[in-house]
Symmetry: C2
Amino acid sequence: MELDYPSLDRIFHPRAIAVCGRITDPYKWILREYFFDPFRQAGFGGQLYLVDAAGGHLDGYPVFPSLSDLPESPDYVICCVAAAKIPDLMKQCRDLGVKTVHIFTAGLSEIGEEEAASLQDEILTIACSGGMRVLGPNCMGPYYPAGGLSFSCSFPTEPGSVGLICQSGGHTTYTIRLAADRGLRFSKAVSYGNACDVNECDLLEYLAADKDTKVIAAYIEGTRDGSRFSEVLARTAAVKPVVIFKGGYTEGGGRATASHTSSLAGADAVWDGLLRQAGAIRVYSIEEMVDMLVALLHMKPPSGNSVCAAGFGGGSSVLATDECERAGLHMVPLPSETRDRLKSFIPAAGSMLRNPLDIGFLLVAQQDGTFNGKPVSDWEDKIREVVPLKGDRGWGDFLDIIEDWKDIDLVLFHYSVDINPICMTEWRMGTAIGLMLAGMKACNLPKAMVIQMMVGKPAYSAIERVYRLYTEARLPVFTSMSGAARAIRRLIDFNREQPELARSLQEGNVPGNLRLAAQSASISSQQDVIVEIQGGAE
Amino acid sequence: MELDYPSLDRIFHPRAIAVCGRITDPYKWILREYFFDPFRQAGFGGQLYLVDAAGGHLDGYPVFPSLSDLPESPDYVICCVAAAKIPDLMKQCRDLGVKTVHIFTAGLSEIGEEEAASLQDEILTIACSGGMRVLGPNCMGPYYPAGGLSFSCSFPTEPGSVGLICQSGGHTTYTIRLAADRGLRFSKAVSYGNACDVNECDLLEYLAADKDTKVIAAYIEGTRDGSRFSEVLARTAAVKPVVIFKGGYTEGGGRATASHTSSLAGADAVWDGLLRQAGAIRVYSIEEMVDMLVALLHMKPPSGNSVCAAGFGGGSSVLATDECERAGLHMVPLPSETRDRLKSFIPAAGSMLRNPLDIGFLLVAQQDGTFNGKPVSDWEDKIREVVPLKGDRGWGDFLDIIEDWKDIDLVLFHYSVDINPICMTEWRMGTAIGLMLAGMKACNLPKAMVIQMMVGKPAYSAIERVYRLYTEARLPVFTSMSGAARAIRRLIDFNREQPELARSLQEGNVPGNLRLAAQSASISSQQDVIVEIQGGAE
């Protein structure tokens, strides 16, 4: 099957959307919270219509009895009607010249019953006869903040550079929320469900050519066309980093994907070989996926695996070492001359002046120096002003010494919140982590930070403004040492295998040569572009 | 070396405590927040004195210039003075007949310098000459809520049944907070640092005989007496489950433990063999340790590894399967007759009626049934009243059907919070998870629940009252599918290998025969008890 770029691009640029389903209680909230409110909140600029035979109003918006009652023909229809009613709705769509039908309704091929499977076939037949593209069934559809498309009021309205395709609506939602919390934003995300028409191959190829997408993440349960998939994936991974979380990689998991999205999961060894050969980065959870995106987008790749850990807490330092070495990083011993220089201003008691370095001292000492030991209400502004300088007997001197140490490729800063018996307050957390972030920001080596070991509400309430400090500075911050170590190790490998892509990302560019792709509007020229892209990292 | 039970027991039962250190700014907060405030908050019933040559007052309490100025001789001294001043303080302690010196001060053997190491030796020599026990150096000391001992105002004041020994003060603190958040409470916890005198062997042996301790958790960086350790551990693990997190299990990690607590980490293979042979349960992080404690204390051990997953969300169901199978559990296919019975009241659309089962429907349907579809302010009380019954076309029927299915050993309920695009509120989270908890509570099979995929502050703010629901019911709830699956697998193995211990725990008993231990007061009789304990699970 060939890529029909324009038909895919139209999914993201509808002129008029009609949402069809039950707009009476007790079902009304579904349409309202999944589509109606999010579109309005995301600033969708086109027309938004509601369709339900029952008529009535929602928030003052009229509810039209049928598609043909609308004042104009929609080009995008969201179908939330019961499964049995879909073919009728599809026919109406065809008659009105609708371009995209996004089927939210579940209960099609994934339930594993013959009747439902033939219904899905019927849907596809009608779509083909009308030249319509079908998204789903059993999916949440697109999130495209730049175009005002969204399915949750909790998603950021600012766009970004992550392209996501995801066969589970729940995983799409969680990924967007988790990534947003970590400072990432999205170009386009698509929950694509059963993939009866638009599938993982189409979407990967589309995102490969998308000028706003710098990295691609995918949660995939299966594919119906292994050879096209492996070919598309290889081409895509040649122009942009592709992070893949394959769901259903165990035997039982494979059965589960069949009943979730009617996917053929395939043997794990086959998938592993395929992903490896194509140059994709494989992960095993959404948390790992988000960690990998943070590493790719916010971190300068280390050229080797020798790490210096600089953190707060002895037990945390031991843990940092074990987790780093378990992931294939190497905690190199500190040379004695480096140790002596550090000892000139960091007391040995309460510190660890080996590698890993426990330098909790720097979080307190300079904190007192900067704020005269007194809480100030504008700590966030004060922290932003901190510039570590040589001769400050604090972070400036620390960085000066560490940057002279030629054996290391990377500095891993870490702060474990709930290891300190004192009661954590916003000011305490903000100034301590803030000073470490200021130090990290000034560090000229490849670097990352871990803020971890947070327990529940008190810590999460206190840390909100800290998040703002690092997300606005686009600093690579992770939430567990194991997650950081794994992602960094994968980044080092990626950088070794695809140095041009990695460098291009660092320079803030969309990796591949995509100018032509963006201009392209026809199937055939798009195919040419894709072929060109293959060797075209600029 | 033999166990001196009375001297260890005195650590937890001081009559008068003196805290010695700097009680002037900018150091005052250390003594106040680590010791002075926590003791008062925990309700320590003995005398609490402050000692600093500078004199003065703290919160109206007089600060005495020296130990000899106190109105009585303390039996427990917390030493926070500079390292070089410790020997002098120790001599004063000896002269006053102090029984325990807890050295908070760091900068002794762990900094790897000869002078500091001989200082530590000197400290030990003075202690021996005065018959004093030394805790530390470089440690936070005991947390014993039943006796009013604590080092953080954030720790629960209610006692429980977990005994913890931990070579890192930070790990001790994080473990107590994390475990408390998960509904666990402690009999006694000890941060024991460099272990120059009181060490892991003493503490394990002590907890083995402690009548309030049902399970033991330990974070250990190393031991100086491998043969005593393996012998003590084997005896301890024969009477109570012992969960061990060995820090410094990689090569670099081993170097790190030396600079953290001057521990000899030892080769990992040796440790692994030792732990396995002794019957300890090995874990690799504090999160895994707490998961294992939850499993041991709150979960009925499944007799086999066949699991049924019943949860919310398709992607989450696939993930549940992969994580379970990865941990060695088996997601058995659902028999068609069971499926047919479920289909009689659960719609196929939007559900997954295989195993894993996606039964999000039950969270909404019965919610409407119970609360008439309207938010109520007292949802927490309403949830407590829910009793699933046969014929309710909800949880009651679901459990009835699942309990008839003879192939499974365990039901794993799961709820992924941030997979739902709607904005999460306390009421929504509380009623949905609450109904699942009510179902789980009524389930007669071995069971556990995972509440996972929470993103930051909104979720943590909303979930507070949900935590109360399950912690008060002592239900086994985990915060990640991977963590749950690992812990449950280890519980199954433990139950197979030590069925009597596991059964005894389930019956709410302290596993070993410890009556004599509690009465014992002399070294020799204590030793006899320990020997008796070996075969004495009652």
